[in-house]
């Protein structure tokens, strides 16, 4: 038996950290997708949130340290940059929806983006959070890939920022129907704009419940408000800190 199989089969193939952890990561994500589908696409069971929880459990149980895991799956992480660039395509596709609401769109992407940052930092400041945690909070309404990039620019805690962003997205979907009832708003365009600037991609998926226009506008705001924040926030912080 031992002569038929090379002795290093186990260590070189099965325990090859890249094969092993990329496989486990993709499998975890696939499971999370299935679970999300089973829950009717609820934003609270977001596939990224669920797969992160699953993977943390696996790493804890197997006693693998995060730096080792991250190095093993860096091939997945390095696709983030190209994926952000690819966001330009849906942005371009949805331009035709923009003409009728251009003014509102511009206000949402600038004033709205500033409000999202300001409310987060103000609320954290009131509760006495330290500077690094406030910086981490500041990106909470920006879509996760851009938030990760901003975090590394401004010295925030990237992984924590990603977790806060995902939580914010889910909370935004819970609050929006409440806000609409409170202010008696039924315009799908307004719903899409507000979801895009406060709840990024999770909000955009939710916005499609109000129709294609609402979803498209939310996606546009997510991209443009996210870019606006990425361009302005690091400059503002470099002046303040």
């Amino acid at each position: 038996m031992g002569d038929l199989l090379p002795a290093n089969l186990w260590s070189d193939v099965v325990l090859n950290p890249t094969y092993l952890w990329v496989l486990v990561t993709v499998a975890g994500f696939w499971l999370a997708l299935a679970l999300n589908k089973a829950c009717g696409g609820s934003p609270l069971v977001h596939p990224v949130i669920v797969s992160v929880v699953l993977l943390i459990l696996v790493l804890r149980v197997t006693g693998v340290e995060y730096p080792h895991y991250f190095e093993s799956v860096s091939v997945i992480h390095s696709l983030l940059g190209p994926a952000i660039v690819a966001l330009a395509v849906p942005l371009f596709d949805n331009l035709k929806h923009l003409r009728a609401v251009l003014g509102l769109f511009a206000v949402t992407c600038t004033f709205g983006a500033a409000v999202a940052v300001a409310t987060a930092v103000a609320a954290g400041w009131v509760l006495g959070f330290d500077q690094q945690l406030l910086l981490t909070l500041s990106t909470k309404s920006v879509t996760t890939p851009i938030a990760l990039d901003i975090s590394s620019q401004i010295g925030a805690i990237g992984p924590l920022a990603a977790a806060l962003v995902l939580m914010t997205g889910a909370l935004g979907c819970v609050f929006l129907p409440l806000v609409c009832r409170l202010f008696n708003v039924d315009d799908p365009a307004l719903k899409g704009l507000v979801l895009g600037v406060t709840a990024h991609a999770i909000g955009t998926a939710f916005a499609f419940r109000y129709g294609a226009l609402s979803g498209a506008l939310s996606g546009l705001v997510m991209g443009v408000a996210g870019s606006f924040t990425a361009l302005v926030l690091p400059l503002v912080i470099s002046l303040l800190v």
């Binding site: 943390i56 995060y66 983030l80 994926a83 690819a86 004033f111 103000a122 870019s227």
Partner: protein, 114 residues
């Protein structure tokens, strides 16, 4: 093939701009804006780019997982203040939605009135 070439070239140009001018801005965001400007000039999405971007966008949520798992390094921090964190996220998200919604509603009413 031509799609990924175009995307990588855009990323390289963006990284070049960021490094050359010392911009405190993520290169990937600059690259996205460059790509958007390029699409505006072309007036259409080239077929290769369309195929490549469809694939990348489908994979985007998966690409977030490796960084997201990093939150395990900060579980103590979260366990210590999960309540204030949840409070801050809830209150600020709700208030931001109210402020933006009211502003937009006001703008719509003003346009209809005038």
């Amino acid at each position: 093939m031509s799609g990924i070439l175009l995307i990588l070239a855009t990323l390289m140009v963006a990284q070049g701009l960021v490094t050359a001018f010392g911009l405190p801005v993520p290169a990937s965001v600059i690259a996205m804006l460059l790509m958007f400007a390029l699409l505006l000039m072309l007036g259409t999405v080239p077929k290769g780019l369309r195929q490549c971007s469809d694939l990348l966008l489908k994979a985007l949520p998966l690409c977030l997982v490796p960084a997201g798992v990093g939150v395990m390094m900060y579980l103590d921090l979260i366990a210590d203040r999960w309540l204030p964190l949840l409070l801050v996220l809830s209150v600020s998200t709700f208030v931001a939605q109210c402020l933006v919604m009211l502003t937009l509603k006001y703008l719509v009413a003003r346009r209809k009135g005038g």
